[in-house]
């Protein structure tokens, strides 16, 4: 259950115990700073489904390094992703998130280090790895002149499969757009379609690179639901994001990356708790911290480009 939802439920039950009417409770909520967006975000996201059994490691990254000339984009990263979890890679721009993701996907060659996905070495068994992963790239577009169904069929053919395109589109609630072209879709629809295409091969691991960047709050919540649905089926999801609330809601564990290194890795709740244990407090009414605090505490406040 998300932290916000928990707080909301707490707030309402406190109010009920104090004998307040619904109307009074609503007014008290507004007075306490609960705006429309907070309410929506607390309620729109369904409670996280029971986490499937985590049986072993599905991704194993060891001492990963990527250098571009003298610039070290990724500087010795190691981590494991457990089967069935949603794993977040967080970090400011230029921290090395996308580079790390693209090395795991086999799109970029590491300068040093090893990566195993589903027990296969990405460097040596690139093709086998490509068969078990689904990839949504940051701002990737598809072909002009083809309908959504035709694109799904085309991608399925690349894996030597045939799929029911309508089923996949229904999964991402785009069945009524089946005959449209990608350029006719909204930002959120494009991202959902991109996820549908990434699912054509029923991947073991789904990679999402900043799936909600540039989306409005509604479209973001919609996508969160989709990610949770995919997770509920037992698919492992690895995503990058700039949004701490997103990480808090979606991710079982996160790695915070800065300047090519992992500076923290744990569940969002554990990271928040450890920050609070260090004596952190916020000068506001509710003294609980959120992931945004953890993030900024760890990576500093200065703007990165």
């Amino acid at each position: 259950m998300s932290l916000m939802r928990e707080r909301l439920v707490q707030f309402i039950s406190d109010a009920q115990q104090a004998g307040m009417t619904s109307r009074q409770t609503a007014e008290a909520l507004l007075a306490a700073g609960w705006g429309m967006e907070q309410l929506v975000s607390a309620l729109a996201v369904a409670p996280a489904p029971v986490v499937p059994q985590q049986n072993g490691t599905v991704i194993e990254v060891r001492d990963l390094v990527k250098q571009y000339g003298t610039l070290t984009a990724v500087d010795g990263i190691s981590f494991d992703v457990q089967r069935g979890e949603v794993f977040g890679i967080l970090g400011p721009n230029g921290a090395g998130k996308t580079t790390t993701l693209e090395m795991i996907e086999g799109l970029k060659h590491p300068t040093a280090g090893t990566i195993h996905v589903d027990g296969k070495d990405v460097a040596r068994q690139t093709d086998a790895v490509k068969h078990v992963i689904g990839v949504q790239l940051q701002a990737s577009t598809f072909f002009d002149g083809l309908s959504l169904c035709e694109i799904i069929d085309l991608f399925a053919a690349m894996y030597g499969r045939t799929v029911n395109a309508m089923d996949l589109l229904a999964d991402v609630e785009l069945q009524e757009k089946a005959a449209s072209q990608v350029k006719e879709l909204s930002g959120g629809q494009k991202q959902r379609f991109s996820i549908a295409v990434a699912l054509v091969n029923e991947p073991v691991v789904l990679f999402l690179d900043e799936p909600t960047t540039g989306l409005d709050p509604q479209a973001r919540r919609h996508l969160w639901n989709l990610v949770q649905k995919i997770k509920a089926r037992g698919t492992t999801v690895v995503l990058t994001t700039h949004y701490m609330d997103e990480a808090e809601v979606l991710c079982d564990r996160v790695a915070i990356v800065d300047q090519g290194r992992i500076i923290a890795i744990d569940s969002p709740r554990a990271l928040i708790r450890s920050l609070l244990d260090d004596g952190f407090s916020k000068p506001i009414v509710q003294e609980q911290a959120n992931m945004e605090d953890v993030f900024l505490h760890l990576t500093g406040h200065s703007l990165r480009e």
């Binding site: 571009y68 000339g69 996907e105 086999g106 799109l107 970029k108 060659h109 093709d127 490509k130 068969h131 992963i133 990839v135 790239l137 940051q138 701002a139 990737s140 577009t141 598809f142 072909f143 002009d144 002149g145 083809l146 035709e150 069929d153 085309l154 991608f155 053919a157 690349m158 894996y159 030597g160």
Partner: protein
């Protein structure tokens, strides 16, 4: 294999649905061909000749009639002042002023025929003068009752007349196959690269060469279709005649398309953005349109230019097509053009493999 068929089919679908590409690869060249076919550049040139006669005589009129019989002369007869005004306006190549007693007086003293020449048409005027001089020489000999020792008997060996449309058709086929192959590939693949489509494909098990081959096969098919449409329009609408083997036409078209597909992929490797594609493409394609023997033969160029122009990829292509279509040339006759295309094909496809890649260059 099934994968490859599906991808090729989808690639073809994308090509056909791209109206802009269809317009530039088919309709534009077809319109050029129809316009050129209708203008008819192959009509023989005519020289407008003004004639002014001071004192008309039956023999003078006879002389003028004989001049009119020369196919390339168009005779205008009027007063000298009027004709000279026409000459000034550029409507006459030369104006002749016939003296009185033009023929009668010829026996006693040399008659002077004054020829006014338009300086802006000197070359044509010279041609007219030499015809006139020959004509007068003949008349002199006839007047002197001199026997005829020589005569020229024209014998038509080439049973068919090569019209301009016959000349143009193979050139236009070569040109549009070139444009289709270069532009449709260069624009599309730079767009794919820019928008991250190629990177997305790289994340699938599809091999890049499969995707490139699917696109190449689509375009080879399109180039054969283009050729068929051009030949059909040429034969049915513009009364072109084609004498050679269609199998050789097909061979030349496929070699030509392969060679220019290589150029297209080379350009899409060189161009970083969509905006730079037309710069590269036009730099390489545009000069070839004029130097590659499409609209006029290489022999009409200065010698130094010919030596350069005849080694252009398009020159080999248009020359092979033209020799087959207008002269019924066989495989042996066009072997050097084919060799030229194969060498260019190897050079350009090799350049493409170095220049073009699915993944972004990592410094």
């Amino acid at each position: 294999m099934e994968t490859f068929l599906k991808i090729t089919k989808t690639t073809a679908l994308m090509f056909v649905r791209n109206r802009q590409a269809l317009f530039f690869t088919l309709f534009m060249p077809l319109i050029i061909m129809i316009i050129f076919g209708l203008i008819g550049f192959d009509k023989p040139q005519q020289y407008d000749i003004g004639v002014s006669v001071t004192a008309p005589q039956p023999q003078t009129q006879q002389f003028i009639d004989q001049l009119s019989a020369v196919g390339v002369f168009k005779i205008h007869q009027a007063a000298l002042g009027d004709e000279l005004a026409q000459l000034k306006d550029g409507n006459r190549t030369v104006v002749l002023s016939m003296p009185a007693n033009f023929i009668d007086g010829a026996g006693t003293n040399t008659q002077k025929l004054t020829v006014y020449v338009n300086d802006s048409q000197q070359a044509q005027a010279q041609a007219v003068q030499s015809i006139l001089t020959q004509y007068l020489d003949k008349t002199s000999l006839a007047l002197a009752h001199a026997p005829t020792y020589f005569s020229v008997v024209p014998q038509h060996v080439d049973s068919r007349n090569l019209s301009y449309i016959d000349f143009l058709l193979p050139g236009l086929i070569a040109m549009s196959v070139m444009q289709m192959s270069v532009f449709s590939v260069a624009f599309l693949f730079v767009q794919y690269k820019e928008k991250g489509v190629l990177k997305r494909l790289l994340a699938t098990p599809l091999k890049p060469f499969q995707f490139v081959a699917a696109n190449a096969i689509t375009r080879l098919t399109v180039s054969v279709a283009q050729t068929a449409i051009f030949i059909a329009v040429g034969l049915l609408m513009l009364k072109a005649t084609i004498v050679g083997s269609y199998a050789l036409v097909l061979l030349a078209v496929i070699l030509g398309a392969l060679m220019f597909l290589g150029l297209g992929f080379t350009i899409s490797g060189m161009a970083k953005t969509m905006e730079s594609v037309p710069v590269f493409a036009n730099l390489l394609v545009f000069p070839m349109m004029f130097l590659g023997g499409v609209f006029f033969p290489l022999s009409s160029m200065p010698d130094w230019l010919q030596t350069v122009a005849k080694f252009l990829p398009l020159s080999f292509f248009s020359s092979a097509l033209r020799d087959v279509m207008t002269k019924a040339a066989g495989l042996g006759d066009i072997k050097w053009d084919l060799v030229g295309m194969i060498v260019w094909g190897i050079v350009l496809i090799t350049a493409a493999t170095y220049s073009f890649s699915f993944s972004e260059r990592e410094q």
